[in-house]
Amino acid sequence: MKPFEYLEPTTVSEACALLKKGGGEARVFAGGALMTILMKEGLLEPKTLINIKRISGLKGIDFHPQEGLAIGALVTHHELETSGIVKEKLPILCAVEKDVANIRVRSMATVGGNLASGEPLTDLPQVFIALDARIKIASSSGERVMPLEDLYVDYYQTRLAGDEIVTQVIVPPVPERTGIEYIRFSSSSVVDKPCVGVATRISLGPQRLCQTVRIVLGCVGPTPLRAKKAEALVAGKPLDPKLAEEAGAVATGECSPVSDLRGSERYKRAVVGVLVRRALAQAYESASRS
């Protein structure tokens, strides 16, 4: 690994100022799960590494009845997995975390890093997008909030500017009679990165009609992606097995998977169809029960 200058700011504004000063040569370092691999392989050779882990303001999880759940960027996967407040308010997040990577990665790597990396083979972005999550972003000139869905541009590319840091993920309160489901399909071992991940959310209106529908596909394109045609097909209707099947078929045409060691393009499309069908049916059922 190439040597670098190593800095440990203790406030967000200090970190943003250092990033700005470093120009394109300084990089944020959080859990390091992705960074250490890229740097060891020589794929990334930053002149300056800005370890943000000493910034206490980026830690912790809060819940406000109006705002929802606010998750600090430095919260680790394992902290999210075992958080009492998350288990109570949004248990789906704890369930999703159980299958992320392995315990060592979950102990070190962060939610902020997972979302900000733009890595294609991850689980959290599609789940948070299905929940209409927003991210708070700080820079040397101030703060902004963006729907997570808008963050992604391409493989490993996001809309974050060079001096910007994700500080928080905000998940708004979930409406009553909502079902949320995530199905992750792994084609080799359970601890491998996902081959396909599908998140669905259905919030019911009167007469058990699907009022709000989210179908978010992960790992089958350059960015996590909402299957908007499939969502539109389901919205305003009660869900039955035929409709779920149709939505699955529509979603297979909305993604753009590439063939790799986790499966061929055709195979991944077929998996998307099946997972969308199942995840919709399960979300609808749990929404109807609640």
Binding site: F4, T36, A101, N102, I103, R104, M108
Partner: protein
Amino acid sequence: MKKSIHFRVNGIDTAIEVETHQMLLQVVRESLGLTGAKFACGIQVCGTCTLLLNGKPVSGCSVLAVDADGSDVLTVEGLAKDGQLHPLQEAFMEFGALQCGYCTPGFLLTAKALLDENPHPSEEEIRSYLAGNFCRCGCYQEIMRAIQKVAGR
């Protein structure tokens, strides 16, 4: 670039100068002479390099040594207390939960972290927590039994 770090390794206050790009595994093995943790995949997949950082399992192969500044580090060498093996070590011997032993330090430390977090895990919980540790000699059944014994199951 060099940096001085201070941390507790197996309960002993340790101050050492490291290169900022050195991995914790390398420092523990080569500078401190604690060679229990092993290098294998180098990409956080296999678990032979497991160390406990503030009680949580991490991959020594992929954690910067400077990132451990101010932390508590436990290696397999620190598991026995006052010449007395840890109950997990006793159980691994009793059930023959190893052949070549390359994976053993990682399994022991991961199992310790699990039991510290959850003293009586179910079989399912043990499997899930240890899913990221590989044993190429295939001693999984024996490892499972050894941990279950210590977990009182």
